[in-house]
Every structure is written in C-alpha cells, then in structure tokens.
Symmetry: C2
Subunit: 196 residues, 2 copies
C-alpha cells in the first residue's frame, strides 16, 4: 500500500461501521434523539470519540446515516400486478414487531416534531427514498393500465404504510402480513384499480 | 349550606378544573409524560398540590382526564350519508394545525410506547370512545344500505384518521378539510360503498 492509499483509507469500514450505526439506533430508542450524544454512542460501541467524529460530523449525521442504513431493502420486484408489488414491498414491515423498533420509531417521531433540522434531514434522506419507491410501484401499475384514470398517486401511495403504522402506534396492533394483505385488498385496490 | 353540603362540595369546579386540565396538557406537550409531575402542573396552574391530589390521585389520572376532556366534541350529526357523516365528524381534525397540538400528540405517542399503564388507560378512555364513534358512523351507513356486504368496519373505520395522522406526523402535512375530503372521496368511499 502506498502512503496515498493509507491516508485515503476510511477509518471506519464495513461491519464496524454497521456496528456503530446499530449502536446509535439502540441509544436512540433508549433515550431519544434529544438526549443522544456522540459520547454515549462511542462508549456503547467501544469506539473512540475521535473515530466517530472523523466519520460523522455530528449526531444528526450519525443518526440519519443509521436510519438510512436500516431501510436498505432491495428494490421490490415487479410481480406483474399492483397487488403483488405492494405485498412484496411491504411484507418487510413485519420487522416492526420488535419491541426495540417500537421505541426507535417513537424516538424518530418525537425528534421530527421537536427538531426541525432532524425533521428536514429525515424526510429528505430516509423517508424520501421510501416515498419514491412507493410512488414508483403505483406508476408501474399506471403503465400496466391497472389504475383508474383519476387516481392521485401522491394521496394513495402513503395510505398503506399510514394505515398500518397508525394501527401499530395508536391501537397497539403489530403489523403482520395478514393485516397488510387485508389493507391492500380491502382499501388500497378498491381506491386505485380500474374496474375490469 | 349545611355542614354535609359543605364537605360534599368538590374542591375543584368547572372552569377551574378545565384550567388545570389545560395546564396539564401544556406541560405534557413541553416535557413529555415521563417527566411531567403533579408539582409542575400545580405550580403552572397556580394551584396547591393538595388541591390537585385531592381531585386526581396521580399524574396518570390527571393526564388522562385532560385528554378525555379534549375530545369532548358533540355527537356528529346524522347527515343522511356516509360521506356527510365522515366529513362532519372529522372536520374538527383541523385543530391539529396548532403547533402545541403537535407536541402534545407526540408526547402521547411517546407515552403510549414507553408506559404500558398509560397506553392501556389512553386506549380505553381516550381512544375507545373515538373508535366507537367512528364505528357507529359506518354501522349507520350499513343500516342505510350504503356499504358493500363484505366491508370490515373494524379495518376501514380507523383508516381515515390513520391516513391523515400519518401524513401529519411523518410528512409534516397539517390536516385540512380539503385533505380530509379527498381521503374520504378517493380512498374511504371506494373501499366501503356499494356500487349503485
């Protein structure tokens, strides 16, 4: 390795980076974004503060990176139908049955409501890609000729996660593939699909 | 007034009770349920701790009472149609455009996820009546013959507030009568109403 390569090598790589990001999410779930500190994450992850600060400028960057890394599901497949595409994309929602995910989600919601900088970064970097993916599913359905002409994709696309998330947070009902299927069949498809 | 009447008179009446309840919601929005104390509410409301403790055993009772008092909208009218009934019931949602209501809502969600006792009391005493009211609207529609035979009311009834609340919390879009109308027309009615 040449001196140039040595200095250019990132100080936090692959698995170690993911460990630190996972730790950041643990701390986020436990104390909330407001009380999260880089120090606390460094200590929990058994990393030096210098290491963290070199890689992530501040806690906003660290936490947003951690949340972005979480969402990294592969592009959902083109199953040939809106119903199939939605089921394939959202079955991963089942991960929300984990108690830690509850706390983390609530910490995110609290941070969004109390910290405008976090809200902006979260909506752009974490939610943005998810929303785009959802819209793409409906646009693909439109291209197949499945949708009614008057469908407002921006209104219907967030409805499935909205309904499921609301039942989860407010009613305490964990998402399940069965619930997701029922919402797709009984609410989303009737709203979106052209009568055949 | 006889001695019996004097001792039987409640120590916190009408407007004063509502002032204290409003103060409890302010404190809830500011510091969250976990950090809310009866002392803090008493101080802010310029009431004595004794007064509060005599009327509300603990902070759970105080906060739940405050939230129950908030929801006290009159029975929504029977407008003669599902569409009209839903619009009449949910237009009050517009109250959520207030910044304090955002913080309070988030404090409630945080408390639900972190405090099982609060969650149980909230779901029974605050959410329960709201859910019942929503279900009653759909059952009335069923009685009018408006609904498709296969409608699962328990699935469709929370969908409208779920979609609107999700857009509000996650996308930062304040509820508006226009949004509520669009969700009713484009999502709820297609899912629920029998083809004519």
């Amino acid at each position: 390795m040449t001196p140039a390569e040595t200095t250019a090598r990132p100080r936090v790589e692959g698995d170690r980076e993911q460990e630190i990001l996972d730790t950041a999410l643990e701390v986020l779930a436990e104390v909330g974004y407001d009380r999260l500190t880089m120090d606390a994450v460094a200590t929990r992850a058994k990393a030096s503060k210098a290491t963290l600060y070199r890689r992530w400028t501040n806690k906003l960057t660290l936490v947003i990176d951690a949340l972005v890394a979480q969402k990294a599901a592969p592009e959902p497949p083109d199953t040939g139908s809106l119903r199939g595409d939605l089921a394939a994309a959202y079955c991963g929602f089942g991960g929300l049955t984990d108690r830690h995910t509850v706390s983390r989600f609530t910490s995110v919601l609290t941070a969004i409501s109390r910290d405008p900088e976090f809200a902006a970064a979260y909506r752009t970097q974490v939610l943005g890609p998810k929303v785009a993916q959802s819209i793409a599913i409906f646009e693909r359905a439109r291209d197949r000729g499945e949708l009614r002409d008057d469908v407002d994709i921006s209104l219907i696309a967030p409805a499935l996660p909205g309904i499921v998330l609301h039942r989860f947070l407010m009613l305490g009902e964990p998402p399940s593939p069965d619930l997701i299927d029922r919402v797709i069949d009984q609410i989303i498809l009737p709203a979106a699909v052209a009568a055949s």
